[in-house]
Assembly symmetry: C2
Homo-oligomer: 395 residues x 2
């Protein structure tokens, strides 16, 4: 799915070198179910917030009684401490209602550490408490873990496996579209208008059969497709573009994949065919520029220029955005949108990153086209992890 | 699913009255896909962070070009401002790389507001920037929106609809267990040992057929069930307890449901039957105490006492927790674990809250039992939203 154009500063190259810091602790307090940095650091999924400390080279988790055993057997850390035991000690020292910050404080006191590095999304309420306790807090922008952007062979394998399920699910959906008949400008199947909801369900059920969780799957036709994040609803049109954007997460590996295709069931207008052709050409040209060291901002700008010079303008028309108004691509891994970006504030690409390349054009009245592949950045170019045809007319 | 015992302070009753504050703005910057307060306030789902401001009685969203149209047609706010337009203005005023905090600052300057109320999980990096810009930030603990805990009739209907799908999926799973044969202490189906993975997939696929997303579904047998958050893996045992804990979210309404049942395929030992009976008795007694004004901490303590006095001790044995070591219940709504709590640090219950009641006992060697219903708190008692039998032996 397309990522919003970035609002953040570009990272200096120097930030990519990992700095060894001995006199400060790294701290996260979050639920790893929703915080991918914490999951990356611990490989432990929990629905409620827990504590991870990295101090003097040691990685320490503090866990509730409920999660203690599971954390000790699953988490990739050095030590798992019982929250309730530390809490009892802190109470005995005279803190009547210790919170999570007080528990962290108790652990850090033993280590004589007064400086803490936290992610940018660290909860402000906890930060205030640490400041009261005399700590100096520093934040680090994303990527909090630089290595998370650079995928290992195993991680690439996980992403590819999720992608294979994505492709199979979209193939099944396209087969259903091919079976549909066309009448009164709509697609019909088994005596009923074929709806976005039905096709989305078909995709999501297929994905679940392969243990992949599809959420916010996009099957948007006609005018709806002109809004890039419209998920689609109601009867699907014949002879107009339908955007499929499918980005499930594996329930087991937790790695995402992401693919978009645009199809027409029936006959596309000559204008829509031209629209499809330029998006496809521009997408493939952009993919050919992906390599270690390539500038994501430059790749994005070149796409914008290509569209403009071909006469496809971007901007507000009658109060509505049209043209190309989202980022070109984003990293994919434990989050669907993660570092790096290929966008207005894009970063330099690195070998081992997995990124999408997904230009699109959206013109109410004419139609919308988005084509998205997911590629692995290599030293000299990239390897396309997507294996799915790019064909406009399903016939 | 069971909630970790709470670490937070109990809320004073007075906090439940909504205070009208005129001289400070309320601010959230988050992705409503993962932040339920923001979704509650806007009814708009977006995968990337956006800005919501409540200032002088007006609710203002600031949205990227990508989300602008969708936000204007879907979000329940007073005004949707285009991020890119404000960004251009701020750049023109000499800020070279404005971030989201600078955009908020531009909006607030027009309103002459210098105090901001944010949720406890507000990102620290943004908070620092606002402090630099001269704002005074205050946090508010959960529940950030008190009304979110008290469900409307429509919200109760959404939760019940998700619960009906949950029950149908668990019924299908139990039917598969009944079909299984028993050999060598295991369950077999179609010539293979019947695994947790297969039953979880059966449940999750069924749920998806009803547009509900099941994640981390628990089907844990024997010793695995003694760890309350173990999701279960490998062959399921005959004659031992199997815990089902299923808590999907509707893809359309976004409301969760939550139910747990414990069953045995085959014959339970007399000790396991006694374990089941006490958990069931205690659970039903706790449900009978739920009403407007009831004290969640007291209900929880009484369950702990009942178990202890019946000889079911809680504590560490050989370094592993056993007995009853999680909360009794939690609110259910747009989050699976939300305010209020029925736990050690539980709160007073209010009419209209939807809470789980889910005591459990876990004894390695003997087995584990957890029984969970979801109830609506009423003035004089509660209405059980769960409609599923409590039977230990499936036969």
């Amino acid at each position: 799915m397309p990522k919003d154009t970035e609002k953040r500063s570009r990272y200096a190259n120097s930030l990519w070198e990992i700095t060894v810091i001995d006199d400060r602790a790294t701290l996260m307090i979050a639920a790893s179910e929703s915080d991918s940095n914490l999951y990356y650091a611990t490989r432990f999924v929990a629905p409620d917030p827990f504590i991870l400390l990295e101090v003097k080279g040691e990685r320490i988790m503090v866990m509730s009684d409920l999660e203690l055993d599971r954390a000790r057997s699953q988490a990739t850390v050095d030590r798992v401490l019982p929250y309730s035991e530390i809490e009892r000690r802190v109470r005995a020292q005279g803190v009547p209602e210790p919170g999570m910050a007080d528990i962290v404080h108790a652990v850090l006191q033993e280590q004589a550490v007064k400086r803490i590095l936290v992610p940018g999304n660290f909860p402000f309420a906890f930060a205030q408490r640490f400041q009261q306790l005399g700590y100096q807090l520093e934040t680090k922008k994303e990527p909090f873990y630089e290595r998370r952007a650079v995928k290992t062979d195993q991680e690439v394998g996980f992403i590819e496996a999720t992608q294979r399920s994505t492709e199979a699910a979209v193939a099944a959906a396209h087969a259903a579209l091919r079976q549909a008949s066309m009448r009164e400008g709509l697609l019909w199947l088994e005596g009923e208008p074929l709806t976005s909801e039905r096709i989305k369900k078909l995709i999501n059920v297929k994905l679940m059969e392969w243990d992949c969780v599809g959420q916010h799957t996009i099957v948007a036709g006609g005018e709806q497709a002109c809004d890039p994040h419209h998920e689609g609803s109601g009867p699907l049109p014949a002879d107009h573009s339908i955007i499929f954007d499918v980005f499930p997460r594996s329930a087991y590996t937790r790695y995402y994949a992401d693919m978009a295709r645009t199809v027409v069931r029936g006959q596309a207008s000559p204008e829509l065919r031209r629209l499809y052709q330029i998006v496809k050409d521009v997408q493939e040209e952009a993919i050919s520029k992906i390599r270690d060291g390539a500038d994501g901002a430059k790749i994005h700008q070149e796409i914008c220029d290509r569209f403009e010079s071909a006469g496809y303008r971007t901007g507000l028309v009658n109060g509505r955005m049209q043209g190309f108004f989202h980022g070109t691509g984003h990293g994919v891994g434990l989050d669907i949108h993660e570092h790096p970006r290929i966008s207005r504030n894009g970063t330099y690409l690195q070998e081992g990153e997995v990124v999408t390349v997904e230009p699109g054009l959206y013109y109410p009245g004419l139609g919308a086209v988005r084509i998205e592949d997911m590629v692995l950045v290599t030293r000299d170019g990239c390897r396309n992890l997507t294996n799915f045809p790019k064909v406009l007319e399903l016939g």
